[in-house]
């Protein structure tokens, strides 16, 4: 067991964890931040995507101990304290970018990372950035549309025919 201290969604937490505790287990079981999901065991699906020190990370690919001293952001930290959705979350709702909601936290976190580095991505850039996030419900149409809309681009021409 080792003690780890990190700032999660702006709040400092200190916990004692076993060395083999994955970051995603730490978030879900120790902190009960269950918005970060587990959809596979091979780091392919992206449902556990979070930000560590501002970078997009799959929380199944790191140990909790590796986040000692880090600033961590999860889906639970995205909306304003009064519950107002951020621009990406709002765009996902406005454009029906989610159905069952299971991949959604990872999609929102991945989208935030993309838009931080590339504020006006093309459709191809959005699709390429989502390479590590699998959705089985939406066919990606409305996810891509929502992310482009969140970047301030006009998506009214995108066919829903």
């Amino acid at each position: 067991m080792a003690e780890v201290t990190m700032k999660v969604n702006g709040k400092t937490v200190t916990k004692s964890v076993k060395g083999n505790t994955l970051m995603v287990e730490f978030l879900r079981e120790e902190l009960r931040l269950t918005g970060t999901h587990v959809g596979c065991d091979t780091s392919q699906c992206g449902a556990c995507t979070i930000h560590v020190n501002g970078k997009q990370v799959k929380a199944c690919t790191m140990f909790a101990g590796e986040a000692d001293g880090a600033e961590v952001s999860t889906i639970e930290g995205q909306a304003a304290p009064d519950g107002t959705l951020n621009a990406i979350q709002q765009a996902f709702q406005d454009h029906h970018g989610l159905q069952c909601g299971f991949c959604t936290p990872g999609m929102v976190m991945a989208a935030a990372s993309l838009l931080k580095d590339n504020p006006k991505p093309t459709e191809a850039e959005v699709r390429h950035h989502l390479e590590g996030n699998i959705c089985r419900c939406t066919g990606y149409h409305n996810i891509v549309k929502a992310i482009m809309a969140a970047s301030g681009q006009d998506v009214s021409g995108i066919a829903a025919e």
């Binding site: 879900r28 931040l33 269950t34 918005g35 970060t36 999901h37 587990v38 959809g39 596979c40 065991d41 091979t42 392919q44 699906c45 449902a47 999860t74 889906i75 639970e76 995205q78 909306a79 519950g83 959705l85 979350q89 996902f92 709702q93 406005d94 029906h96 989610l98 159905q99 069952c100 909601g101 299971f102 991949c103 959604t104 936290p105 929102v108 459709e123 191809a124 959005v126 699709r127 390429h128 989502l130 390479e131 996030n133 699998i134 959705c135 089985r136 419900c137 939406t138 066919g139 990606y140 149409h141 409305n142 996810i143 891509v144 549309k145 995108i158 066919a159 829903a160 025919e161």
Partner: protein, 786 residues
């Protein structure tokens, strides 16, 4: 003008806020105080005799609570099959035992052998490695046709062979043979409908929680139909009466059919929690999902079409082998028969149609319904065949389809169903415009100049949804009714909770269902909430599958709301001192016809619960009504789909240029959600046609058991889709006139993509009759080499 509320509007989904903020409550998010964890030791061979399971050392490992094996389930029921299919000689299908934990033999990779319950998951996994297992590996039955040969390894020794049933349906053999003998042209196609894994992003989870004090069991599980699980598990497996068993399916992260079925793991945690008097939790890994979730499709079919000299279809004959896997999953038997054979006429007025299906046991994971369930297999076979016929005859594939379309409704097919409405030419007209079919040959030339082979594939589809009249399906072998139920509970101040049997796991019921009730009553949608997913709260409904939620459960909700209106009118008549027949309900106000006297919705609901001025001698207080709705027929959504793509002749790689879907779903309650359902279905159909394949080797080893081996569609594999649902022929027999839209995309899209690849190749001078799915670069390239 688009509406901003009620039926036909697209309000933002109310469920989204919790999903977008991480506040959804999926089954794995549920921890019960004092819970234990179970890990299943699963077979790593396809077929074998269990000589010994020695758990002595493992039981002494740290944290182990108890290890269960098949011996602990002797005398306990096996997992039941919900549909009895009768073969062509009138005999019942063979129905092998399906124990919760393997007894004597293992029959597929992933078959659970032992269940280790421990204080932590890590301890359970560690202990599993200490179990001494002695299994004699046996030769495996993997290929379906080989499995039916004499001397093939027997999946179930007591059955004598691997044939579950040999089913024949439709027109008699003599008539069909005569039509083929007299045909001017016969087109024959052999094809495989590739085996798939549904892969909802949330793996299955089950938590069993037993309260000894009142002898009550609760099962939290990832299910599309909690009441079905309660009935099957309670009555047939564990012998727990319904009133002592609560099944909760909270937020469920996608289903696509694979979460319909009753699985061993949920029976296990319920059983073990009673034995141990402690909660037991199981969370599937993705690898476990690949080897324990029921798979989909896996048909091998020979299909033949007879045409006369004028290219009219005169007869159709199919011969299909359908893989059941090692055991019969809950609805495995009806998928290749009643959900497949009955759709084999497609959109065409072919006068003679005969369907033959041999269901085969193999040493593979059980196969059951996956999005579309039988209908994608029927559509793919037929629509590939018609395209092949057009190419052989040198006629336009769309013209050949149009010539043979059913145009008069209702239409009784030779395969037992009666289509109530449809307009297949209308959806085809729309589709041709959506993809600019007229301009395609120019685009093909332009692509050729760039060295690319461009193809346009078109097909149509018909499906049967909203399953179905209970008395009919009972005659066909269903062991359950297929109605659904809704309770509309009006509260004293006028707000409403609607308890529904349907389960929402992505479909947006929490948004859509209130649109209907609010419109009927003329009140704001925010006053109506939906309650679903908990057998202790909802009436006995059959759940969500087969695109049935709105058509069946929504109809029950309409009927219950009508009862509410009838009673509320009686109350309003009393309050207004008027005759009941003169009361009108509009915009949430009850008024007396021809007068300015009215009373508001909230006044009537309050009177129902505070019945001081109330006709107590005539009606009871309160305002709560339940309706069970049993549909009179299936619904028949239909449409036309097209895929335009380019093949790189150097590599065989496909790039989709455009994909269009023109559907007739009948009336549409929420266009935004309908379009989303089609998008998702298209991606799954494109996945089947282009990427996905569940593969076994000849020894029955599962080769595709992770996302590193099974190619799920990614964002960059698919385009923005063009979808249209403006052609509306309302369903004639349900109150909303709706047909269902959940599966259409997955049913209609695979043949369009494959037809497009073949159009590209043949248009580029490559004489290729067929390529089996998925259209991977290597398969396409190899086909081009001749």
């Amino acid at each position: 003008m688009p509406k901003d509320n009620g039926i036909g509007a697209s309000p933002k989904r109310r469920e989204d806020v919790r999903f977008l903020t991480g506040a959804g409550q999926y089954t794995d998010d549920i921890n019960v105080h004092g819970q234990t964890y179970v890990h299943f030791l699963r077979s790593d061979v396809a077929h074998g005799t269990i000589n010994k399971i020695d758990t002595a050392a493992a039981s002494e490992m740290p944290g182990v609570v108890r290890i269960f094996t098949g011996a602990d389930f002797e005398g306990v029921g096996g997992l039941p099959c919900g549909w009895q299919v009768t073969d062509k000689d009138g005999n019942p299908m063979k129905e092998p035992a399906h124990p919760v934990l393997a007894q004597g033999k293992v029959r597929h990779v992933g078959d659970p052998i032992a269940a280790i319950v421990a204080e932590s998951l890590e301890e359970a996994r560690n202990a599993a490695e200490a179990i001494e297992l002695d299994i004699d590996e046996l030769p495996a039955a993997v290929d379906m046709k080989a499995a039916l040969q004499a001397g093939a390894p027997l999946v179930h020794d007591d059955l004598g062979d691997n044939l579950c049933y040999d089913w024949q349906f439709g027109t008699d053999t003599e008539t069909v043979d005569k039509a083929f003998a007299e045909a001017a042209h016969v087109t024959t196609l052999e094809l495989r409908n590739n085996r798939l894994v549904a892969n909802p992003m949330e793996p299955r989870v089950a938590v069993g929680d037993y309260a000894r004090a009142n002898d009550e069991s609760t099962l939290y599980t990832t299910s599309q139909n909690p009441h079905v699980i309660r009935l099957l598990m309670g009555a047939f497996v564990l012998g727990i009466p319904e009133h002592k068993l609560r099944v909760v399916a909270p937020d469920v992260g996608g289903g696509f059919g694979t979460k319909i079925f009753h699985y061993a793991e949920e029976a296990f945690v319920t059983f073990a929690s009673r034995q141990l008097n402690r909660p037991v939790k199981w969370t599937s890994t993705r690898s476990e999902a690949f080897m324990s979730d029921a798979h989909g499709r896996d048909h091998v079919t020979t299909i033949q079409l007879a045409l006369d000299a004028d290219n009219n279809f005169t007869a159709l004959r199919t011969d299909t082998h359908a893989n059941m896997g090692a055991y019969l999953s809950t609805f495995a038997s009806c998928t290749p028969t009643w959900l497949h054979g009955t759709l084999m006429a497609g959109n065409y007025k072919t006068p003679a149609v005969q369907v033959n299906v041999k269901a085969v046991f193999t040493n593979t994971v059980p196969v059951d319904a996956y999005r579309g369930a039988g209908r994608p297999e029927a559509t793919f076979s037929l629509e590939r065949l018609v395209d092949k016929a057009a190419r052989e005859l040198g006629v336009d594939p769309v013209a050949l389809r149009r010539q043979n379309f059913i145009t008069q409704f209702p239409y009784a097919t030779p395969v037992a169903v009666e289509y109530d409405t449809g307009d297949y030419n209308a959806t085809m007209d729309t589709l041709e415009k959506m993809v600019d079919r007229a301009g395609f040959e120019e685009r093909r030339k332009e692509a050729a100049a760039r060295g690319k082979l461009r193809g346009l594939g078109v097909n149509c589809y018909i499906e049967a949804c909203g399953i179905a009249p209970s008395n009919l399906v009972g005659q066909l072998g269903a062991r359950a009714g297929l109605y659904d139920a809704a309770t509309v509970r009006v509260n004293a101040t006028g707000s409403i909770s609607v308890m529904v049997g349907a389960h929402s796991h992505g479909q947006g019921h929490e948004t859509v269902f209130p649109q209907v009730v609010a419109e009927m009553l003329g009140i704001d949608e925010s006053m109506v909430d939906i309650v679903h997913g908990d057998t202790s709260k909802i009436p006995f409904g059959m759940g969500t599958y087969g695109s049935r939620s709105l058509a069946v459960c929504g109809s029950a909700m309409v009927r219950a709301t009508e009862k509410i209106i009838n009673k509320a009118k009686k109350i309003a008549a009393h309050l207004l001192e008027a005759s009941e027949g003169d009361i009108e309900l509009k915009d949430g106000q009850f008024s007396v016809a021809g007068t300015d006297k009215s009373v508001a919705w909230g006044d009537v609901t309050l009177a129902a619960y505070v019945p001081h001025n109330y006709p107590l001698e005539d009606i009871e207080p309160g305002l709560e009504e339940t309706a069970f709705y049993d549909p009179a027929n299936f619904t028949y959504p239909s449409g036309a789909y097209a895929c335009e793509l380019e093949v790189d002749p150097e590599t065989g790689k496909i790039e989709i240029i455009q994909f269009a879907a023109a559907d007739d779903f009948g009336n549409v309650v929420n266009p935004m959600i309908v379009e989303g359902q089609v998008h998702g279905g298209l991606a799954q159909g494109i996945g089947q046609a282009m990427l996905e394949n569940c593969a076994y080797d000849e020894n029955g080893q599962l080769l595709s058991a992770s996302y590193m081996d099974y190619a799920m569609p990614r964002a960059s594999d698919v385009p923005f889709y063009k979808v249209d649902h403006s052609n509306v022929t309302p369903c004639t027999h349900n109150p909303l006139g709706v047909k269902g839209c959940g599966e259409a995309g997955a049913i209609g899209s695979p043949p369009a993509l494959v037809n497009a690849v073949l159009d590209a190749l043949n248009g580029g001078g490559y004489d290729v009759a067929h390529i089996d799915m998925p259209m991977s670069p290597s398969r396409v390239w190899q086909a081009m080499q001749g």
